[in-house]
Subunit: 504 residues, 2 copies
Amino acid sequence: MTDARIAHPALAARRMPADEAAALIAPGMTVGMSGFTGAGYPKAVPQALAQRILAAHGRGEAFGLRILTGASTAPELDGALAKVGGIDFRLPYQSDPELRARINAGLIEYMDIHLGQVAQYAWFGFLGRIDVAVIEVAGILPDGRLVPSTSVGNNKTWLDLADKVVLEVNRRQPPGLDGMHDIYYGTALPPERKPIPLLHPGDRIGEPYLKVDPAKVVAVVETDGPDRLGRFAPPDETSRRIAGHLVEFFRHEIRAGRLHEHLLPLQSGVGNIANAVLAGLREGGFGGLTAFTEVIQDGMLDLIGEGIIQTASATALSLSPEGVERFVRDIDTYRKRIVLRPQEISNHAELVRRLGCIAMNGMVEADLYGNVNSTHVAGTSIINGIGGSGDFARNGFLSCFVTPSTAKGGAISTIVPMVSHVDHTEHDVAVLVTEQGLADLRGLSPKQRARQVIAHCAHPDYRPLLQDYFDRALRDSRGKHTPHLLNEALSWHQRYLDTGSMKP
Amino acid sequence: MTDARIAHPALAARRMPADEAAALIAPGMTVGMSGFTGAGYPKAVPQALAQRILAAHGRGEAFGLRILTGASTAPELDGALAKVGGIDFRLPYQSDPELRARINAGLIEYMDIHLGQVAQYAWFGFLGRIDVAVIEVAGILPDGRLVPSTSVGNNKTWLDLADKVVLEVNRRQPPGLDGMHDIYYGTALPPERKPIPLLHPGDRIGEPYLKVDPAKVVAVVETDGPDRLGRFAPPDETSRRIAGHLVEFFRHEIRAGRLHEHLLPLQSGVGNIANAVLAGLREGGFGGLTAFTEVIQDGMLDLIGEGIIQTASATALSLSPEGVERFVRDIDTYRKRIVLRPQEISNHAELVRRLGCIAMNGMVEADLYGNVNSTHVAGTSIINGIGGSGDFARNGFLSCFVTPSTAKGGAISTIVPMVSHVDHTEHDVAVLVTEQGLADLRGLSPKQRARQVIAHCAHPDYRPLLQDYFDRALRDSRGKHTPHLLNEALSWHQRYLDTGSMKP
């Protein structure tokens, strides 16, 4: 019955098809699932569950779930469940088009919470009881411990807290993942908490395996499928210019004695700009770098492979098909340089502050005064979520936000008088970068910041409009600490909604 | 030459009048001063400096300074310097009417930064060179170490970083302060940082004295004056009702098993509501409590004296004249129960999270979705600043914000469709309390939060207006994740500016 992937006899005996496992999940339950940026999510049970929900709805029965994950998953999970109306409530970060559409139609309640705080929120009891955990693993050891998959996310927490556990053993995940993880079991509830003994990004402070009480495991489902493997376009001119400004800024800080030539642990959000920044560091001759971040994407994998990044800590691998190939081919090398941790640790305020991360995250828009919107279109529609940007921006050494200066072919300025939603306040934003330039907001008052942002970040099409708003606000605003014209502050967004463009 | 207060011979020899010390400070300098919530600020040199600035201005000479402190000071410092136009730039938190008026008139650049981040910002080099430190102490030991005064604030950082140091030795400060402080010298710059070895609010991890290189001390000025001793009105009915809701909530959480009967370390903002909450805990029979907070005010001092709060950690004492009397009378008892630390430690993200503080802070306004404005009137005029509310709200176990539901005799609703400035985002706010009730926002989506806020926090005069906005936003908003009508979202504030009332 047992084999190398499922080596625990009692758990091997609990193998069953996905639809039988899905039948163990009842309407109204709270289900904690694995998955972080399209990696390590369960691939069979959620789809079987969607079929079950569809059938129930066909019989006129209500069937909605509360779905908690690590972060974004894939069409097989969020997409499938959202499509059949099976999600009543969802947290945290998501990026699925079906799910997003239903959230923005008001059909699904979505809570956007800092990725580094989900686990403790669950342990505090603030998310209610966790009925079932559905967790993808790469294997089950003879003693019942679990070899984690390509993401760790909140798996430790869901396994510990859930009443019942469904395991998906994915034979497609490389066996060489074994030994790459570091699961820290030293967390506790206050007042019993102790310092987390991590001093360097590569420190191993836990153990390589997840634990689970075998008595709680009600089903083991075998799968053999790839993660959601995205493709990265090579960096375009805009991304390269943004990366160039940031790399130039790092050089400036090194010359000023404020940064070491090896920088500080890099945190880099997902997407093409992040990859361009990493490419820019390589081209700029940087070396001896480290990363303490959430996700390792192709761009970072390359630098790790080349030894430019010597050690990288993350909670997930989110690779392209080619990235997976490279990763599997050289997995013994990567295992020495990559540590995958629970997201509670990869994003922990204590560690981000201690290590002094250089936080680089994308944004939707920023305003004159340095407030950043990471999540909403025109204040009301969620895109993905705040992810870990707040964990790193608040606590890191440097908090950088990047975006092209316009969107929708120039119809949207990403620099606006007032952001339509605030995810990062003026208190938490140090550097803004667009392809136009870099605004260094450190140590500045709101008005001083506004001058930097207009001069360095705004697109030339919008710069005179922003300057005009700022000038009139300086003249007419009741208070002149943060000058605003309240009846005009959000008018650019309203104009976009009305006319399809922010331009007058 | 030496005496018990100034026991170091070389420093005793540098005694001089305040005006001579002030003459050592030149136009354009950056001056780090002591002072936190009206305690432990220098009382003579800033006033002499103001005279010097006034004279320079009289001669047609420019004379402005960059003034960095711990937090708010007093008329003798912020007031005197602001009045003569001597402050070009100021950080962090302030509360002086003269200073505030000039900031809001656009005459002074003010940077509002988390109190727990000022010191590291200075060490990172983000605030530029610190030319002079002007620090009040309670005494100078024979070996040159300094007995801190009634606040610690950023004094360690200013003393370490400044090129020159001016000490004010205030003979009015009780000698019994000696031994109450804990100055942690274990901080470092990344990548050399280590865990901060504090596990309980009362732990002493440093030493009782501040260090300074005697060679840097260019002046010692003797003073004999009281701190800015505010008076507290006894809690009014509104404050008592707010406190009552919060205490009832704590009881509910204890019954639900989410809180221990001794709660968790309390952080409590300044003001009458905070005092009312503490009084409510006493009346409710709570005991065995601890505090890990910024400021100890009369309300907390009472509970410490009675042993209801067994240990309190803070960075400043901000007492009434009667509070000072009680404090001095029983100082040997208080010294066993109170630890005064640098604000870098009292507000440290690592410690606030490890200890699991219960954060209770006042606010200006909150919106339907749980965003909180702590600092601005109608989006443009600063009141005081964010203080440490962000340090605690982001990292604590529970993040509670309190306010009466209306202001200006009912002309202002503190619950609004959209806040006019965001200091704490929807991601960082767990509980909102007004005299009307308590909204428990944990684990809720934006729309779920809105229903709680309208039902429990809004004043009955404004509740139908908020419900109407929410209903129409639900119907007409482009996105229905965070429903808003952008051309109306800030209209309540505009109406207040236009008519003096938010009521239509």
